[in-house]
Amino acid sequence: MSRLPVADRRTVRRALREMIGRHRRAVGIVLALHSAAAVAGLAPPWLLGTIVDRVTAGATVATVDRLALAIAGCVVVSALLSRYAQYAGHRFGERAVAELREEFVSRTLGLPVSVVERAGSGDLATRSSVDVATVGTTVRDVVPTIVIAGVQLTLLFGAVFLLHPLLGLAALAGLPSIVSVTRWYLRRASSAYLTEGAAAAELTETLTTTAEGARTVEALRLTDDRIRHGTGRITQVWRARRATLALRTVFFSVVEASYPLPVALVLLVGGYLLSRDMVTLGAVVAAALYLQQAIDPLDRLLQWTEQAQRGFASYARVLGVGMVPAEPPGRAATSRGERLVVRGARFSYSNGPDVLHGIDLEVQPGERLAVVGPSGAGKSTLARLLAGIDAPRQGVVSIGGCPITDLDPAERRRRIALVTQEHHVFIGSVRDNLSFAAPDASDEQMRAALVTVGADWYAALPDGLGTAIGDGARQLGAAEAQQLALARLVLADPHTLILDEATAALDPSTARRTERALAAVLAGRTVIAIAHRLNTAHDADRVAVLADGRITEIGSHDDLVAADGAYADLWRSWHTQADERPR
């Protein structure tokens, strides 16, 4: 499996710069408002310092009243400013996140399906859920927190500098140890927390699957095994949590022990300056209070840095999806005719050994071709080449004389449909689940299509075509889901159908019902069926036997039986079950 790419740091930085660039105005406003709010927030300690000075100088009650009122005013102004700052920041975050996820989904939809399959859909699923969400939280919550904390800290330390440069220098006393321990921590934190999260998720999964498979646990007497397995998971979680705790122990103790350093130093320096009358007592008090006040934003900044780092990593994975070249648009919009021709097609998965070794095949319009052969012979690969999902490494697959991969993908899908064992019910109404195959279809046509494939159950749904189905709503059974997929095909009306064991994953009775529905779809089309049971082959116009990536036999059923090759052997073993069954 070749994994999906992950963007490197440069690309991520560039993307961030571009994002900020697009919202230049919004970002500017947010920063300005937050700075103003922080300035207003700095006033109370300064005013308190002034009160201290005035009272020492023997001020009146009226002065104190005025100053206290000023403190209250500053609190209100600061709150108002920060409200608008926060709101503007929030809007910016929402916009940026919306852009990001829409971009991600449209990129995902543009991915060539072969790339997704090779990477495993799990990777993409994780990116679409965990990573997009992580980036979302980061942009919406973490970045604003960090920005606010950063602005506040800058202003707090700036204020101390303004009171007196030497006090300002003293205020920086705690920074070296904090910075170095933070760097130490950040280098280790992300992977440790990811391990912890993964371990916790595995434990939850163990509990959930044990519950889901409870009957199997009882039937196969797996109780002890499940307990052993789960206990192992619990130990893993415990170990992972201890590891992160060890990191925090070092980090927090150093940081917390560093907090009093600037306060202490400012008091000492203040005492010295005071003795030379270079500052007032109020200034020293205000500086000490500022530093005390700086603890909170500093704490927040440090706590969220790790999260921001994780957001950065997730962003790299989200951007990585965009780095896969999108499915190339076709060169030829249409083709003449519907004749499928395969010439000398060879294929290998990601530079592995060839799975198909030179396939030559012609399928006439309206013909029914069955492809049989043992598992691993390359039947599904051939189906994918015929559907244009993969391009042959060598040779050509063409329809009406035009290489199939040159067709516009949308056009190609309209003409050739691949039906596999997989079916998927999309979240949405029944109508939503049908309309994407044929956007112009009327409700009447949809109902007719459903009836054609035997999906009369739709009539019993509470809201008919408007009934919500899929994950989180009404769940359809496997047969119903497959019928829905077939109704979609009726609407899409492709001239060529490729069936890759379309009913193999269903239980036998469901499979039977689905097969009946399938018959309605096949009429009047070119059908290439990867056969599961031999009677399909018996009924087809021609049969191709695939073995080890080669077509070893091809011809009508009767011809092949007469030729007395591998197919004839297989047929006889099936056919003679009834009369000369060995006992």
Binding site: L48, V116, D224, Q292, S375, P508
Partner: protein, 575 residues
């Protein structure tokens, strides 16, 4: 609540230590304002360098001490919480592993996942209240005493004011959480949609419709953005209020204290200290408010855990039906000592000991019900060697009779774990079972063979591969009686024929029931029973039944997958 108490009692010393350290830390928080106040009053104002140096050293020492207390508190609390989580997970695990087949009927898997994913955490979170909770109360008291010594009036204002502020701000924050939760829900739905698109990508590649999905998603995304704007407008006001209200309170206290300072009732240092105390007092008050909220959630979580633990396994099985026959005597299980016939009076089926029996059922639901009765997953009158099956100890039934459902669960692990989770079997036996299930190619195709990790339900394998793994697993267990439900419905004819032969050899001399409609399987069994309309209507060899039973002929003919073949056509093909 009893459950929470149980979790506490498992680790009394740790909880006690947590309380002590938590208290010390919380009290220690108010030390720094005091020390700063002394440094200002005694050192700076009095211009006493020695005193200043002394207090500054005290500030640093106290800082280091506080950081030590803080981290010890955090460590102890983390251990308490993790201990509680691990313990909860363990009891749940043991319980879930034991309940067995009734569980899915009583509890949804989604609920288990919620309990395992978040309820355990919520319940454990309550325990961390023990330390800081006590600490908060003590710290509050100490600050009260100190303030009282400065000025009783101020003390009253602060001690009543801070909780009042908390009570005003608390509900605001709760509202914020609610507004957020609506947003989060919508966000979750949107995430589900993108996951849905990813999951259906292959379908979209097969039939088209990508643009439509991109547009639909974008529309939803814009709706969420609009909701986000709304939430942001409300939240930013609430946030501003939560900052402004305590800020205004602080301003009022400063004003009051400053007036007292003017009249000389308090010193300048005390003025600074009061400012610090008010800020410090916010920590314990928050803890108490937050704690009460957590306690509520934790209790709900604990109740859900306890409810799950109260689901008991049900010895006799089925819902709504009660065993009316003789009450089984636990001292004399009365199970047949060796292989014996199974008889199901409801359908009239008799499974001969040591033979391979095929059951072809018209209605798959009836077949499943039959398997449930034979395997005693429900109450029935089924007998085993003449003894009512319901009277035999369940453990013994499970050990000797195995029902292998066609959708039986595959747990995550290496393929080896999947196949034979309990035994220390050598690869030879595993290889034999894989061969019997014609599943060697699955192992060969996996990168690390038997040691390749496979996820739950073996989603990475194809339907046919999964089925063969299940079959191999059932064969490896070597039960005295093996009941296979549709073991080969998803494999191709070639493979099915091979399995039919090998299965026969692998189970030679042992009681085996194969419930299926495939002629390839039924053609290889000793005796076929035709289950139709709830009764066994005919028994005999496959060939006999093909000749004598038209319905049977029709039934096995339907096992084809090409609906175009007319019935007559198919019959001909089968003959």
């Amino acid at each position: 609540m009893r459950y929470l108490w149980w979790l506490v009692r498992r680790q009394p010393w740790r909880v006690l230590r947590g309380s002590l350290i938590g208290t010390a830390w919380m009290v220690g928080l108010s030390v720094r304002p005091y020390l700063i106040y002394r440094a200002v009053d005694d050192g700076l104002r009095a211009r006493d360098t020695r005193a200043l140096a002394l207090w500054v050293v005290a500030i640093i020492v106290a800082g280091v001490g506080l950081s030590y207390l803080g981290i010890m508190r955090h460590r102890t609390m983390t251990f308490i919480r993790e201990d509680a989580k691990a313990r909860s997970a363990e009891v749940l695990l043991r319980h879930l592993s034991r309940i067995g087949a009734v569980l899915p009927r009583r509890v949804g898997a989604g609920e288990v996942s919620t309990i395992g994913g978040s309820d355990i955490d919520w319940a454990a979170q309550v325990l961390t209240l023990t330390g800081p909770g006590v600490g908060a109360v003590v710290a509050y008291g100490i600050i009260a005493v100190v303030l009282w010594s400065i000025s009783p009036l101020l003390a009253l204002c602060v001690l009543l004011g801070v909780p009042a502020v908390g009570l005003v701000v608390g509900p605001l924050l709760r509202r914020l959480e609610r507004a957020e939760s609506v947003y989060r829900k919508q966000q979750g739905a949107l995430t589900a949609r993108s996951g849905d698109i990813v999951a259906g990508l292959r379908v979209l590649a097969g039939v088209g419709g990508r643009d439509l999905f991109a547009r639909r998603y974008a529309a939803r995304s814009q709706e969420l953005r609009a909701e986000g704007y709304r939430v942001g407008a409300v939240n930013s006001w609430i946030d501003a209020a939560t900052v402004a209200i305590p800020g205004l309170f602080l301003a009022a206290v400063v004003w009051l204290t400053a007036r007292m300072a003017v009249t000389g009732e308090v010193t300048i240092g005390e003025l600074v200290a009061v400012y610090g105390y008010v800020a410090t007092l916010i920590v314990p008050v928050w803890f108490l408010l937050e704690g009460s909220h957590q306690l509520i959630r934790g209790r709900v979580a604990a109740r859900r855990i306890a409810d799950l633990l109260n689901v008991t396994s049900d010895d006799v099985g089925g819902p709504g039906r009660r065993w009316s026959g003789p009450v089984p005597d636990p001292r004399r299980p009365g199970a047949p000592a060796g292989p014996a016939d199974l008889h199901d009076p409801l359908t009239g089926l008799t499974v001969r000991a040591g033979r391979l029996t095929g059951v072809a059922a018209d209605d798959p639901a009836e077949a499943l019900a039959l398997a449930d009765r034979l395997g005693r997953y429900v109450v029935s009158d089924t007998t085993w060697g003449g003894v009512p099956l319901t009277g035999v100890a369940l453990d013994e039934v499970r050990a000797r009779i195995m029902v292998a459902d066609h959708d039986s669960y595959l747990f995550a692990g290496t393929l080896r774990d999947m196949l034979r989770p309990l035994a220390d079997d050598d690869d030879g036996r595993i290889g034999a079972a894989l061969r019997a299930a014609s599943a060697e190619d699955i192992v060969d195709a996996l990168p690390a063979g038997l040691d390749t990790p496979i996820d739950a339900r073996a989603r990475t394998l194809s339907g046919g591969q999964r089925q063969r793994v299940r079959l191999a697993r059932a064969l490896l267990a070597e039960p005295e009686v093996l009941i296979l439900v549709d073991p080969t419905s998803a494999v191709d004819a070639h493979t099915e024929a091979r399995i039919a032969d090998r299965l026969r050899a692998a189970r030679a001399g042992r009681t085996t029931v194969v419930i299926a409609t495939s002629p390839l399987l039924l053609g290889r069994v000793d005796l076929v029973a035709h289950l139709r309309g709830g009764r066994i209507t005919a028994t005999g060899s496959h060939t006999d039944l093909l000749d004598s039973d038209a319905d049977y002929r029709h039934l096995v003919a339907r096992g084809s997958d090409d609906p175009d073949i007319e019935a007559a056509d198919t019959e001909e093909a089968y003959r």
